[in-house]
């Protein structure tokens, strides 16, 4: 059992899985000698060589597309999109090709492909190095979308992603890369795709969240605990498919739901979660299903006062908790 940061867990899991399975290769911009701009692949080029850790042209469309074509010919590529903000040139390939291959061929062809992408803000990245892009993908049947945010889950969900024969969007909140540390068992385990984790149990309200906001929510929960508000904090981990059972069980217990995410409010995943709760836990609700998210502006500004105003933090979350608890 070792203590690792999120990025270390990511790197070590890739290393172990590549040792185990020679079909796994890594492609992306600067993943080779440079070890990735966040150093996620550091040392892997040296260990596995240029045929398994491959610097690509600066072209996300073809990074994903060649990943699809390699997956159709016996490899198990992990492709890195340098920043999630730059995944959109590949949107058509992901949506029209990767996500539909199985359905349109009745499983004759499949695309076992992992697409890694650092997302999220709070790192002075401005409009195009801070975005939360997960909602676009959570709307696409045929894709799995995961967003683990502890070292334990990163290992477990990456191993799971490498075991399913469908494309997986693997989102990593870049601000947590070095910020979050935790224990990572040495033995093999998976965190099943589609299973949320209850990070804190509570009676009074359910916080449904993921990403950096999950860590902020835990802090907020401790802040309001002193005031007598006992919150349950659910870390979704998988965004598609949602773990409806865990969400609904919690809300049926507490009667109140606060959904928190860093993505814009309108059209974010929170809407889907709220809709599920409103339809399927209607009779248990003791207060309005509430969403807390940054405002609907076209991504996060660079200047730090604006960035801070945009970002969530434990205080904002605690305030929303107090309000809902008091309802």
């Amino acid at each position: 059992m070792a203590i690792m940061s999120n990025i270390e867990a990511l790197r070590e899991t890739m290393r172990q899985e590549m040792r185990r399975d020679e079909r796994i290769i890594i492609t992306g911009e600067d993943v080779g000698p440079r070890g990735g701009v966040f150093r996620a692949t550091m040392g892997l080029y040296e260990e596995f060589g240029e045929d398994r850790v491959i610097d690509t042209p600066l072209a996300e469309l073809s990074i994903v597309a060649t990943g699809i074509g390699m997956a159709m010919n016996g490899l198990r590529p992990i492709v890195e999109i340098q920043f999630a903000d730059f995944i959109f040139p590949a949107f058509n390939q992901i949506l029209s090709e990767a996500a539909r291959m199985r359905y349109r061929t009745q499983s004759d062809w499949t695309v076992p492909l992992v697409i890694r992408a650092p997302y999220g803000g709070g790192i002075s990245g401005g409009l195009y190095h801070s975005q939360s892009v997960e909602a676009f993908f959570a709307h696409i049947p045929g894709l799995y979308v995961v967003a683990p945010v502890t070292p334990y889950d990163i290992k477990g969900l990456l191993r799971a992603a490498l075991q399913v024969d469908d494309p997986v969007l693997f989102f990593e909140h870049k601000k947590t890369y070095r910020l979050i540390k935790g224990e990572v068992p040495e033995h093999d385990y998976v965190v099943p795709i589609g299973k949320a984790a209850i990070r804190r149990t509570g009676r009074d309200l359910s916080i449904i969240t993921y990403g950096l906001a999950m860590h902020d929510s835990l802090k907020a929960a401790e802040m309001v605990a002193a005031e007598g508000v006992d919150a349950e904090v659910i870390d979704l981990r998988t965004l598609k498919p949602l773990d409806k059972e865990t969400i609904l069980n919690s809300v049926r217990k507490t009667g109140k739901a606060l959904i928190v995410h860093e993505d814009n409010l309108t059209g974010g995943i929170g809407g889907e979660i709220a809709a599920i709760i409103a339809q399927e836990a209607f009779e248990y609700l003791d207060g309005p299903v509430t969403r807390l998210a940054p405002p609907d502006v076209p991504a996060m500004p660079f200047s730090h006062p604006l960035q801070d105003a945009f970002m969530l933090n434990p205080h904002k979350i605690a305030a929303a908790m107090r309000e809902l608890a008091a309802y």
Binding site: G69, M70, M72, G74, R104
Partner: protein, 346 residues
């Protein structure tokens, strides 16, 4: 600059197609004829209201069959596009398979009726699944070729698209990738002069699509796609280059679509009847028949027998396809995801 194959020169040199036996040539002719008859029947079924949509390969048959002849079906990879009926038949697809898809019937091996017709696919035959957005297959095919190379497998990947589709970014990125990695990759652009109504001059400012190869460090060749043997020659050379590890080739096969774009199109608004008629006189199947007759490989009698055989095959296929069931509605939600590993259950 594109290398144009010149008839005059070829005559003096030994051509790869010289090695094709009579049986090969007759086989090629048979497949072309089968494709033509099947395609014509598809139009009929559409006009009869039995098939909601048909998209045709009439006019493209020779280049496709010649290309297939130069590779190893089921071993080499082919990512076709929607006009590649003859190509897929040459690779081993059954006529009835096309009709199942045309009618949206359950036994359609490509997609069980989920896709529109002519969206070919077969893992067994190594035919990549055709989707509707054009040109997406090009970088996917580059990935497949790259996997062959990384895995040390002696495989070639062939991808097809229309000339209009080369305007898409996907084409650029796929060719660039093939160039950088010197892949065993062949891109056949079937230049039929139009993208629906848009003529090639509004699509690109180069004289030959093959000129585009220069941007990628890839070899570019333009060839008369209505001349089966010329097409075989350049294709054979491209395959040899790929197998020798010399990298990718972009082949522009110049041809013409002898029908409207699809059963939804009316081509009279954008091209003259004279132009169509002129190209009909260069119908590639007619030209190939002429060659075979001249060489004494075919006589009128055999030619008629082949036509009859093709018609019979199409009749049989139609009967079979008509009788086949539609997909059961209970299957609508199948195959969205694969089965999960055991851990997931626990």
């Amino acid at each position: 600059m594109a290398v144009r194959t010149k008839k005059s020169k070829e005559k003096t040199r030994a051509r790869p197609s010289d090695n094709l036996t009579d049986e090969h040539l007759l086989h090629m002719y048979r497949i072309m004829m089968l494709s033509r008859k099947l395609d014509e029947r598809s139009w009929v079924l559409n006009r009869q209201g039995k098939a909601p949509f048909h998209i045709s390969g009439i006019g493209h048959e020779a280049l496709q069959v010649a290309a297939a002849q130069a590779i190893r079906p089921g071993k080499d990879w082919v990512y076709p596009y929607y006009r590649d009926l003859a190509f897929c038949l040459a690779l081993g697809m059954k006529p009835v398979d096309h009709l199942y898809a045309l009618l949206g019937k359950a036994p359609d091996p490509g997609s069980g009726g989920r896709q529109m017709p002519s969206h070919f696919s077969s893992r067994e035959l190594r035919i990549g699944s055709v989707s509707s957005p054009v040109a997406t297959q090009v970088p996917i095919a580059a990935g497949t070729a790259m996997a062959s190379k990384l895995r040390g497998l002696d495989e070639v990947t062939v991808v097809c698209l229309g000339e209009g589709s080369t305007s898409q970014g996907d084409f650029h990125e796929g060719l660039n990738w093939a160039g950088v990695h010197k892949l065993p990759f062949i891109c056949i652009v079937q230049n039929n002069q139009y993208a629906i109504s848009v003529p090639v001059a509004k699509q690109m400012a180069v004289k030959s699509v093959a000129d585009r190869a220069a941007a990628y460090g890839v070899k570019g060749v333009a060839v008369d796609g209505n001349d089966a043997l010329a097409m075989y020659d350049v294709m054979h050379e491209a395959v040899q280059r790929a197998r020798r590890g010399e990298g990718a080739t972009l082949i522009e096969a110049i041809t013409y679509r002898l029908t409207p774009h699809s059963s939804d199109d009316d081509d009279r608004s954008y091209r003259s009847r004279e132009e169509v008629e002129a190209w009909k006189r260069r119908d590639p199947i007619l030209l190939f028949r002429q060659t075979l007759l001249e060489r004494g490989i075919l006589d009128q009698e055999t030619a008629q027998a082949i036509e009859k055989w093709a018609m019979d095959e199409v009749d049989k296929a139609e009967m079979e396809a008509m009788q086949a069931p539609y997909p059961d509605v209970s299957t609508l939600e199948d195959h969205v995801y694969g089965p999960l590993p055991a851990w997931q259950e626990g």
